[in-house]
């Protein structure tokens, strides 16, 4: 359990640092006359990060967030199906937040009303994921290439891989880990597995949730927010 807590904190912190650093550098480069990325300046980064964190508590942030999600939904899910996506996204956000928060900070783990809400959200997540898989999986086929397929992804390790491939890979990874989540939750409710298996299921559920959250963050950054425009782009 200690290992999970440590890995969770480190992995989330590392990913957030990586993604924010890339945005910081892109924005800094955008402000320069020559539009070349400047050397990384930690102080400037922290000031930039603080400024953006402060915007989280403004009404504009919520309006912008809503417009991103709503825009994504409306573009891909016609009519009322948009709400399937939005409910799915909200359910996942709660599942990830409540599950990881209790796993990391509460010794007892998830319990009480947050647990009830977690179970209910789990149902919505499962239904939503199934619907999205059924309705949208075809758009993530690797043999269908959009016109922007040649744009390289800005993450250093994946620079040579197109953002489209990464986005699709993240989608399928999310789907696979989502299936693990749904399956482990379901199996732990069935009176067929032993105590030791229950413990194993719970551990799989936790680790899979961490992978799912990291995948979702990457997907969100890449697909929903889009890459910041770098000088080269």
């Amino acid at each position: 359990m200690i290992a999970f807590i440590v890995v969770t904190i480190l992995a989330l912190a590392a990913l957030v640092f990586l993604l924010t650093t890339l945005r910081f550098q892109a924005s800094a480069a955008g402000r320069l006359p020559g539009k070349k990325a400047p050397p990384f300046n930690l102080g400037a980064y922290l000031r930039w990060l603080g400024k953006h964190i402060r915007t989280i508590f403004s009404a504009a942030f919520f309006r912008r967030t809503w417009s991103i999600w709503n825009g994504w939904g409306e573009a891909r899910y016609p009519g009322w199906l948009k709400w399937v996506f939005l409910v799915f996204a909200a359910a996942f956000a709660y599942l990830a937040a409540s599950g990881l928060f209790f796993a990391v900070f509460i010794r007892r783990g998830l319990y009480g009303l947050p647990l009830l809400a977690h179970i209910a959200s789990g149902g919505l997540f499962a239904v939503g994921l199934a619907a999205i898989m059924f309705l949208r999986a075809r758009d993530y086929r690797f043999d269908v290439h959009p016109p922007t397929a040649g744009v390289s992804f800005a993450v250093p390790l994946f620079k040579t891989v197109s953002a489209d491939v990464i986005r699709k890979a993240l989608f399928w990874m999310f789907a696979t880990l989502g299936l693990v989540q749904v399956s482990t939750a379901l199996c732990s409710m069935l009176p067929v597995f032993t105590f030791n298996t229950q413990v194993a299921l719970l551990m799989i559920h936790r680790w899979s949730a961490l992978g799912l959250t990291l995948t979702a963050l990457l997907f969100f950054d890449l697909a929903l927010l889009g890459r910041p425009k770098t000088p080269e782009a």
Partner: protein
């Protein structure tokens, strides 16, 4: 110092050391014996010794009872044994451990039930704080004591007023646990303790000899060296022993059939618990007992007699024990924690519980006993009787058992290790003097002295019934009629409700006779104005009044008022006079007091009290409590209160009884472990809804304070509140189980669909990678 001086001194020192070394085996009782390895049990044929250390010769005149300290000590260290769990409660060095069942000082007359223990458990009173000496404790609880402890105080602990010099001390009763003879008799032990024959009790209980006489009747100056009392062979007979000579050999060695470890039959007289209303044949034994496992198979000890209790965390409370090996988990889960690579089976290869479908949190938060021990949760907890609290296991013509105190189970409380554990619970009841939040109990004798007849309402009836027994009711059982029910006196001076048979019973307050199970009125219905018809009834009235005139402590002359006429005795003759100023038809049996006023023989308060309490386990009414509190206050005691049923009762400024909550009224609880139910009877066997439902008995059973007071003003809580969990949350959580089956279906369907799409994508990818799909597409 020259060499010649040193050498003899050295030799002397060496000689002393050598002699000390050779002397060691002689003082072996100070050395903890080590088991050599033989599992055979030694034949116990050895000379018994009395308290003076003399060998008992059963054939001699007036032999003394055997003393365990002297008889067993040559081989077994009595001092070590005295430090054992059964004997060390008052020792400050003894680990208190988790709470166990306290002694409960019960005085039914005053409605007192006080939990006592020298161990520092929550809610119990220390005997010394209530003025109870070892002598008092022995008289109160020696019946279920294994000897030692408070029944064998050190000489400096003897208190004035005790009679240890007459009774002797009840040493540790080794044979009480280790005698395998069917003659070992716990009831005999209890009787001998009651007779204050403390030093004779073990001998009598073992069946080695018969004990007669009663130390309680002897003069306090009597000493065992005085021997029999030549002046009295009827009443104040000094205790004596007649040994069964067949149990001794020709060398006066006792032939004892001893058991190691002790048999269950030795434990059960003091450690039985059963539902109060259950029939014996209905009672299920513990699953371990049914499997042939004895009490001592788990509750083990070495010569220290520091017995393993077997609860989680005992090894921390008492590091000297190896108790960690004997918990439920240790036996059933094996040594998973100690050995990460392989699971070693636990003691006796106990079955491994797989606990299919039960989430991990249950094993982190609950003791095994929650699901596996005691009665299944019901709308109300089960009332049980325990051997020590309710004086069970003492057989004979007299019924020793008591309904009070009321002990209930299961109530789920969290232990200090954080695990929810089923408990037994009782509510203290006592009179006391309140001082802020604390209440200092009054001893029952103090209350009785202050309360007088208020605590004896039935006496007004039983005295009359006793008088009638010598007159018109001599052919049967005299009964008092109150509101259509018959009340007869029982041998202990109380009242019982009797069955009237098929005969109709008058509605008012009157007297009658039960003959061969059939009710008969004392008087026929007659008209006193009709002199001819009244002649025969009037003869009966005279007989009855003559009997009633002999009533003990009567408040006046007996008389009968009936249909406008008053019958009374004047100079032994029946006097009949018209009484027009009194209403009602009667018959009313009355006392004519010194002022000439008529008082009913059974007053309304007495009638109400008798009708409220008789046939119940209640001992007091609210009216009695109010009157006694008033009497205590008038007697100069400040802030008198009565505690019962989890509430504190006191008089308000207007003299009315008011009820408040208070720390002093809180219940006392102790974890329970037995009877363990088999897996198929465990909570959860039928699924989550065994506990998780909207109206779950596990969470929401109602627990009401129990006590000797007849009242509705008692503590009332749910099990959830004792657990320290949120009532509303568990209602909501239980509610979700209505939808759980559907949630599982939804999850299964969703998982199937997601898996199907993933599989299709995977197959498609494999098809394209392998070229199968393209090849198929190219087929014209």
């Amino acid at each position: 110092m020259d060499r010649k001086t040193v050498t003899p001194r050295l030799v002397l020192v060496l000689a002393i050391l050598a002699s000390s070394a050779f002397a060691l085996p002689a003082s072996a009782s100070t050395v903890k014996p080590k088991w050599a390895g033989s599992r055979a049990l030694a034949v116990h044929r050895f000379p018994l010794k009395d308290e003076t250390g003399q060998v008992i010769v059963p054939t001699e005149t007036n032999p003394l009872p055997f003393a365990a300290g002297n008889s067993c000590a040559p081989c077994h260290c009595y001092k070590d044994i005295k430090r054992g769990r059964h004997f060390n409660a008052s020792s400050p060095d003894a680990p208190a451990g988790r709470p166990g069942e306290p002694w409960i000082w019960l005085d039914e007359r005053t409605g007192t039930q006080l939990p006592l223990s020298d161990r520092p458990w929550k809610g119990v009173f220390k005997p010394a704080d209530l003025g109870l000496s070892d002598w008092d404790m022995t008289l109160l609880f020696g019946r279920h004591s294994p000897g030692g402890g408070f029944t064998e105080p050190a000489p400096e602990a003897e208190t004035p007023g005790s009679r240890w010099s007459v009774s002797g001390k009840a040493e540790i009763n080794c044979l009480g646990c280790h005698n395998a003879s069917p003659a070992q008799n716990h009831s005999e032990w209890a009787k001998q303790i009651l007779r204050e024959n403390f030093r004779w009790a073990a001998t009598a209980a073992s069946g080695l000899g018969e004990v007669g006489g009663m130390a309680s009747r002897l003069n306090p100056t009597w000493d065992i060296a005085d021997g029999p009392n030549p002046d009295d062979s009827e009443w104040a007979v000094a205790p004596f022993v007649k040994y069964d000579r067949s149990l001794f050999d020709s060398k006066h060695q006792a032939k004892l059939d001893l058991a190691y470890p002790p048999k269950d039959s030795a434990c059960l007289p003091c450690h039985s618990t059963a539902p109060a209303e259950a029939k014996k044949f209905e009672h299920e034994a513990d699953v371990h007992t049914a499997a042939g496992i004895a009490c001592a198979s788990c509750h083990r000890n070495d010569i220290s007699h520091d017995i393993i209790r077997g609860y989680e965390g005992e090894d921390k409370d008492n590091p000297a024990l190896i108790s960690g090996d004997f918990t439920c988990r240790a036996c059933h889960l094996g040594r998973e924690e100690q050995s990460k690579d392989a699971v070693l089976p636990g003691r006796m290869g106990a079955p491994y519980p797989y606990h299919y479908g039960i989430p991990e949190v249950h094993f982190e938060r609950l003791a095994c006993t929650v699901c596996h021990s005691g009665p299944l949760p019901a709308p109300e907890p089960v009332r049980v009787r325990t051997a020590r609290a309710n004086r069970l296991g003492i057989f004979g013509a007299a019924d020793w058992s008591t309904d009070l105190p009321a002990v209930v189970e299961p109530v789920y409380l969290r232990e200090k290790n954080g695990l929810l554990t089923p408990h037994r619970m009782m509510w203290p009841a006592f009179w006391g003097l309140a001082d802020k939040d604390a209440v200092q109990p009054l001893r029952p004798a103090e209350v009785e002295a202050a309360a007088g007849d208020v605590l004896y309402p039935e006496r007004a009836v039983t005295r009359i019934l006793a008088a009638l027994l010598n007159g018109p009711a001599s052919s049967g059982t005299p009964v008092c009629i109150l509101a259509g029910r018959l009340y007869g006196a029982h041998i202990d001076g109380g009242l019982d409700i009797l069955d009237p048979g098929t005969e109709p019973v008058p509605a008012g307050t009157s007297f009658g006779v039960l003959e061969a199970g059939r009710f008969r009125a004392l008087l026929p219905d007659f008209n006193p104005a009709d002199a001819d018809a009244a002649a025969e009834p009037e003869a009966a009235i005279q007989g009855i009044l003559e009997s009633l005139a002999a009533t003990e402590a009567r408040p006046g002359e007996p008389a009968l008022f009936i249909k406008g006429f008053l019958y009374r005795l004047i100079d032994g003759a029946l006097d009949k006079s018209e009484k027009k100023d009194r209403t009602g038809a009667g018959p009313d049996w009355v006392w004519i007091n010194s002022d000439g006023a008529l008082e009913p023989m059974v007053s309304e308060p007495v009638k109400d009290t008798v009708m409220s309490l008789t046939g119940t386990d209640k001992r007091l009414t609210e009216g009695q409590v109010a009157r006694v509190l008033d009497l205590l206050a008038r007697g100069g005691r400040s802030n008198p209160v009565y505690v019962s049923g989890g509430k504190l009762h006191r008089l308000d400024k207007r003299g009315r009884l008011e009820t408040v909550a208070g720390q002093a009224a809180e219940p006392v609880a102790w974890p329970m472990a037995h009877e363990v139910r088999p897996a198929r009877q465990a909570l959860g066997w039928n699924g989550c809804t065994d506990c998780h439902s909207v109206a779950s008995d596990f969470f929401f059973s109602g627990i009401k304070g129990q006590g000797p007071l007849q009242t509705k003003r008692v503590m009332s809580r749910t099990n959830a509140s004792f657990m320290g969990v949120n009532n509303l949350y568990h209602r909501l959580f239980g509610l979700t189980y209505i939808g759980r089956p559907y949630l599982k279906l939804v999850l299964a369907a969703a998982a199937f669909l997601i898996a199907a799409v993933l599989l299709a994508a995977l197959l498609g990818a494999i098809g394209r990678v392998s070229g199968l799909m393209e090849k198929r597409n190219r087929i014209p």
